[in-house]
């Protein structure tokens, strides 16, 4: 947990202060990709001897799809609550929240659909969702349980939050995280477009 906050915080300070030259943008993108692959490869290796993880997946059967479904419904209910007590419309809140933490795609999608400022807002909201998940996942796992921890990660539970999920659960939640993350990611373009264009 301390390592997570320190790494992220140091990175933000480096970026903000200009200590990391922005001319190295291409290098940074490659750095992110390679780190992500190393992380996921390591999680795969740990998972190879983690029989409990697959036992849980097997015992759940088709009920495994209830987790991403519940997480999406919960996210959208949270967004609807925000629409009730803020000047934003229900349509805007639902379209932004249905990025489920995938900030690059949701931001670009909304900008392309014709609302660049809502795209920026979606970008910031989903960045916050990802940071929130990274920082509070361990606590959520201890207090609310495994499904809640996976749900908090949304679409990121198959990439950036997968390492934290693996660490806090001893690998047990990795298959659930992958299933939930893939389903969330597949649904992002559908929900964002649906809420923005047809609501």
């Amino acid at each position: 947990m301390i390592g997570i906050v320190l790494s992220l915080g140091t990175g933000v300070l480096f970026g903000f202060s200009g200590l990391f030259p922005s001319a190295f943008g291409g290098f940074l993108e490659r750095w992110i990709d390679i780190s992500l692959y190393v992380l996921v490869f390591g999680v795969g290796m740990e998972l190879a001897w983690e029989s409990k993880a697959f036992e849980e997946l097997r015992s759940l059967g088709f009920r495994v799809f209830l987790l991403p479904l519940a997480a999406m419904v919960g996210s959208l209910l949270g967004a609807a609550f925000v629409a009730l007590c803020s000047p934003m419309t229900l349509r805007e809140c639902l379209a932004v929240a249905s990025g489920f933490g995938w900030y690059s795609l949701s931001g670009v999608l909304l900008a392309r659909l014709g609302n660049p400022s809502l795209g920026l807002f979606a970008f910031a909201t989903n960045v916050f969702r990802e940071i929130l998940a990274l920082v509070s996942l361990e606590w959520v796992y201890r207090v609310f349980g495994g499904w809640a921890a996976v749900a908090l990660g949304g679409a990121t539970s198959m990439d950036t939050t997968l390492g934290v999920l693996s660490r806090v659960s001893g690998g047990k939640l990795v298959p659930l995280g992958v299933v939930s993350g893939v389903l969330h990611s597949l649904c992002v373009p559908f929900w964002v477009t649906l809420f923005f264009q047809f609501l």
Binding site: G9, G11, F16, I32, S35, V40, T160
Partner: protein, 91 residues
Amino acid sequence: MWLLLVVLALGFLVGKLVRSDLAKGVGKVLSTVGLLFLLFAMGVRLGQEEFLRMKLTFFGLSALFLAFAAGAGAVVVAGLVERMVSRRKRP
């Protein structure tokens, strides 16, 4: 997304080819190093986002509120569904 799943499967296969303690040890080191480097790089990218810095004061609090509400909603509903599923699993 699919490339990530391929890399995950590759890690799984390599892990199966070596002893369990070695796979777990090396896997843990790789995932920890990968995670810390990833978070640092993500932090740098966030810190460099010019437009995010400019707009943060304008819509930062609303974005944080919406992110919190969406995350909290997901946690609560998924937590409740997990309880229902585990109650049904018990004989």
